[in-house]
Subunit: 335 residues, 2 copies
DNA sequence: CGAGGCGTTGACAGCGCTGTCATGCCGCCC
DNA sequence: GGGCGGCATGACAGCGCTGTCAACGCCTCG
């Protein structure tokens, strides 16, 4: 009739429920013969433990919480998709929670999921490092992705932000650019600050000065960035190339160019864009490898779930410059 | 120390746990004075019920399950984002599960979430209607989105697929096209079959014959579609316009065109594309309004959660043709 | 040969909540 | 005034599982 419970399995295999519980949880000290018998009964009845009961009886749910700005963002959607698929493979569920850009909401969402009993988190945090550290739970494993925010003591996966941006700007310099702008809000995100540092270093090493008027750090959403971009691009001393620090700002730059009907400004975007290959010219990007990031994050989470006291790992994945056209444009009037 | 339980609230407010339970669940028959007292205690202690315990004690979790092909798909990502935000507003969580294009997996994912105790589903099903009907749970409210698959007895939200496709093809005809192709796998998806019907009707009404060699129904992913598209576009009697039945196939068409370095084929894509405005020419689409779809789906779910025996509603949302350029291209050699 | 130890198993008490049913109380009716 | 019905509340038994601890071998060692 109804779903079988642990009692049914126990009766079927002639042991106590506790032994069944041991088998379910891969606990040691079960005689192989008993183990086999219980396993058979489980298969026979199609038994599956009730997660709610497991949790109530002291444990956590076989669930991982994914906390990101917005899963409508292609980068995070990709991340969530990979985590979901990996989780499903090991019988875990995925709870998603989006925070927008609200630090308080980051905190409340994490707390909500934690109370909900998730076994672990994959979080892309932002904002003040101290606030982030306070928001993250101490009793549940957390893997911080993409934006380590100076968190310590937790596993983290991120990309070589500084180096990626450096490489991108270097690429632009190599293509003859001298006036290179930077777009992207750096305040709330440690990651973006790193990218900015890479930008700065590349300029410095090329013997170029940083012109603060070419650095636009107020933009986050496309809507915010649009007017700022339009303004930047129509200046008499407009930059001949731009580094967009995020896909969103990249889109803003592209849209602004489109509106102004211009295609002469070289552009490298940090983070891949859906349809980037189809743009005119195709957009050169610094690939963040969201898939690899997500895989690594999930691996780290699993590892910590198994060995809760393992040394925290800060994994740094390389980025990859993907030249597609927009980053190879030469400045106007150049050879 | 630890989180307060219902007992703490009961003690604090001088009532039994049962009364607290009543208050939590908005049950009737609680004297206003008692209600207020309990509410105060709840606020004071910051009490929040433990979902696992609630579920174990007979109920379902305040959770909605979202089951889609892949949340990496921008359309579903958008859908999930909206559902998540609406759910959060009423204190519910969102569990996501992706099915790929595997009918068996649709079934198993739904069952898993159901066992997990979700209170309701938002599902984008596919495949054989009978199989879908069998896969969907009968004891948990389900709202079917985007692809009603002939399901009966459940709430559904969808768009005017036939009419949307009709309008698109009509649009192409009005721009002088006579050889108009259709791309998109129609087999597994009722929705796509509807779109095909709209395509056919528009041709018929325009006095044009359906040329089956211009109809490509084998393509689903971009990878699959690419070679087929390349072949289609390079034929001597190639179509001068295409209707792509899904965003994915739309991307395939665009990519194929790009590879072939062609921009002369008019294109309307069913479903919006990220970055569509930035293409050359910007892509004309039939907007499915994922946000409205998701909002409506969530509303329906909430309604059913409240009134489980309400009459099932089959909501049909209008589509919107968004001319952006690619659909307004005229055939070569036309006036 | 008995004590001690370890590997194996089970009994049982919760976990925090909800459903069922019982209880007490008040107002109403005949 | 006694009886009845309805509202407000509480006592209590689970829900399905896990943690704790005790019990029961059996093997080893002195």
């Amino acid at each position: 009739m109804s779903r079988p419970t642990i009692y049914d399995v126990a009766r079927e295999s002639g042991v106590s429920i506790k032994t069944v519980s041991r088998v379910i949880n891969d606990a040691p000290n079960v005689r192989p013969a008993t183990l086999a018998r219980v396993r058979t009964a489980i298969d026979l009845l199609g038994y599956q433990p009730d997660p709610a009961a497991q949790r109530l009886g002291g444990g956590r749910l076989p669930t991982v919480g994914v906390v990101v700005d917005s899963i409508a963002d292609p980068f995070f959607a990709q991340l969530a998709a990979v985590v979901e698929s990996r989780a499903a493979a090991v019988g875990m569920d995925v709870l998603i929670a989006s925070t927008g850009l609200d630090e308080e909401r980051l905190r409340s969402q994490v707390e909500r999921l934690s109370r909900r009993g998730v076994a672990g988190f994959v979080v892309a945090p932002f904002g003040d490092p101290a606030a982030v550290a306070a928001a993250l739970p101490s009793d549940v494993p957390v893997v911080v992705v993409d934006r380590p925010c100076g968190t310590v003591g937790t596993d983290a996966v991120r990309v070589t932000d500084e180096a990626g941006a450096y490489e991108a700007v270097r690429h632009l310099v190599d293509h003859g650019h001298r006036r290179i702008g930077f777009v992207g809000r750096t305040g709330q995100f440690v990651t973006l600050a790193d990218r900015y540092r890479g930008y700065e270093r590349a300029l410095r090493e090329a013997g170029l000065e940083v012109d603060p008027t070419l650095v636009e750090t107020r933009a986050w959403t496309t809507e915010e960035a649009l007017p700022l971009m339009a303004q930047l691009l129509t200046r008499p001393d407009a930059p001949s190339a731009l580094l967009a620090a995020t896909p969103m700002t990249g889109l803003a730059v592209l849209t602004a160019q489109q509106r102004l009907n211009r295609r002469d400004v070289a552009l490298v975007v940090f983070g891949d864009l859906p349809g980037a290959e189809l743009m005119t010219p195709p957009t050169t990007v610094v690939d963040q490898q969201p898939t690899a990031l997500a895989e690594t994050a999930f691996d780290l989470l699993q590892r910590r779930l198994r060995e809760p006291s393992a040394e925290p790992l800060d994994t740094v994945l390389p980025t990859r410059l993907v030249p597609r056209g927009s980053g190879e444009l030469r400045p106007r009037g150049a050879a």
